[in-house]
Amino acid sequence: MGIGFSLLLIMALLLAVFFGAGVLGWHLLFGVVIPYAAATIFLFGIIYRVVKWGRAPIPFRIPTTCGQQKSLPWIKPSRIDNPSSAAGVIGRLALEVLLFRSLFRNTKAELRDGPRLAYHWEKWLWLGGLLFHWSFLTIFLRHLRFFTEPVPSFVSFIEGVDGFLRVGVQALYITDILILVAVTYLFWRRVVIPQVRYISLPADYFPLFLILSLAFSGVLMRYFFRVDVSAVKELTMGLVTFHPRIPEGIGVIFYIHLFFVSVLFVYFPYSKMMHLAGIFLSPTRNLANNSRACRHINPWNYPVKVHTYEEYEEEFRGKMREAGIPLEKECG
């Protein structure tokens, strides 16, 4: 159900932009109005979500410890997997965000006759995830070329490295290929692994298809249906400088690409893609395991009903006296 529905949705979006921008020529709508609206929703949506999270307190210090604690001086603590300081936490988050540390632990359990359990090497999800995210980031940075004048040198540098392969005179960006492969893999495993398929929602397939369509339209535009790059840059520069212009002669493929970006922007803050920001706020990863050394305060800690020692002694005084256990009040 999820796959079909998501595909239909993508088709509908494609038809809409093809018809709107291509046939009816609503370039202002698809080239300016929708992108502006999408960027606004993206920005404010993310801020809204993060502020909402940030306003909820962290009542307890609950890091998941994945290594030796800092205790006796002669026992070597695991500074990153079980951080006891801010530096350790930063290291842990950096490894998590940049290299997907936790996902790297992944294994696959298999039950054999006997019964015998085996845990297999399984780093494909890690690899697929890493390639996808890093490719996406690189492509994103490369696109800064369209939004800056002059183009910063790091953007050209990234382009140079990414495009070291050449087909004829043209650079073939390696990330263009990687992202298509990685997203296809992520989709494939979602369908093929029975458990993952079982938990998958339309909300899981849709973003995959969306990103795939986005990347694919980009590839088509760059390598097959060439568009007038200087006209595109005129449009994009107009957008960022708030002097929107619609130059003539940009093919419909560009509007398709831009429309998918807009849809992604709109979808982002309301979906699981917010994991981008959420990982930084995850209390099992961004807290130091030092609650025995530094007191952690819970802002809403409230008094509760307890059973006091006095009540306890009151009930058991006779038995305690008989057993020779010291009492607060001898008689009573």
Binding site: S71, F100, D204, P283
Partner: protein, 542 residues
Amino acid sequence: MAFVPKPDELARIGHKPPRTGWMDTPVDFRRGTWCYAAKPKNLQALELPNPREWSPERADWKLPANWQEIILEGLRERLQRFRSLQIFMDICVRCGACADKCHYFIGSGDPKNMPVLRAELLRSVYRKNFTTAGKILGKMVGARDLSEDVLKEWFYYFFQCSECRRCSVFCPYGIDTAEITMIARELLNLVGCNIDWVAAPVANCFRTGNHLGLQPHAIKDMIEFAVEDIEKITGVKVEPTFNRKGAEILFVTPSGDLFADPGTYTLMGYLMLFHELGLDYTWSTYASDGGNFGLFTSHEMMKRLNAKIYAEARRLGVKWILGGECGHMWRVINQYMDTLNGPADFLEEPVSPITGTRFEHARTTKMVHITEFTADLIEQNKLNLAPERNEHCRVTFHDSCNPSRSMGLLEEPRYILKKVCRHFYEMPENTIREQTFCCGSGGGLNADENMEMRLRGGLPRANAVRYVHEKHGVNTLACICAIDRAALPPLMDYWVPGVEVSGVHELVGNALVMKGEKKRTSDLRGRPLPDPHTAFGGAIEE
């Protein structure tokens, strides 16, 4: 014991999900997999809502008329109180990395035991009621209404999670299904849906200070039994004190160790060690359990039960607190106690009176783990040890979930074991330390009526033990947890017969050479000590 199929039958586990989607597959309360409902008297004792006679098996759960309102209001409140809950509700990408990391999924094949799906049970209701997308798009984004069937599913699966946090180690965002389970159980408690195996110990613990409901004189009696046994075996008479004001150290340990084998051997180990050191310490009959099934009920209940420890330390005027071998107790102490019931500014930063070591890492909570304490003693050469007295034990170590994943107490017990035993073998890498597998009975799920599920959940742990049992002849599974000492013996008998379960300080007690002791002829269990010359070959093959 409840009916349990034979191991080879139980091991036929299919991991393929059913044809029907998870939202359309109702829960089946099959006997052997769930725990009995909380009895009204236990809820009443704690002033918890909706006490009544009921059973999960029956159609009518006797819920209050406005139960949906209560739960949704409770969820709203908790979303405001816990950032963890908001984040964990919002950012799961359903990658499935956590799926086969849960021992209950591995052992049962039930897809709703995949941590991700367990969490989706709550998440689906959250989406429907608290997110715009969920309200508009419903099922498309995995949202659904809170119906009675959903509530029943919650009860079944949130009392089929031992809050072990293994899933959270593997999740790329650290999503901790244990945290979700804790909050889901709070919600269930709001409408009176708890299990008795949790509610009864909590009620006991509130009144008597310990889960077993042991009254002060009984505690003293039980410890004195252990004193007699120690005298029989070593010829040394140890002299524990109770509720003694002015002692330097208050010792708090799980009550399970007072009550039944093999925990009692660990108790003997503590008593011998403290006596040998001449430690100025006291037991308390009021703070007579460090264990805290409140953790398995609600944050509030955890605080209510935990409060007695600092209160008693203050009343007795001790300097600091030493804590015994227990898993979930140490989660509470390490991650919650000071926040809940501190500041403990009436205590002093713990210092070992024997070695002078300052336990700086415990300077605000003022409570030290016994393996930290003992490891320090051994490292400073303060104990006279005869590891050959554990010659008959080929030992492996089971990391309890909480000390490993909520604390990181990994090396201390291993260091001790390697000093008091000569034969120590690790289980395979992905079954120990932070990747350790639950005993299958944590989280308050060590009842009798759910034995089948416990054995299923314990399969991965048992399997790893079997590996070292077959490869190295391991016959002793050491642990630092009272629930383990109750739960692992039946698990071993079922999956790996021939492996005994023992506390780390039982093995310390065996090896500890005490001043004035007689020649020992048996270990703390009364098993004859092996002849040092024929050593352990003989002992193993018998």
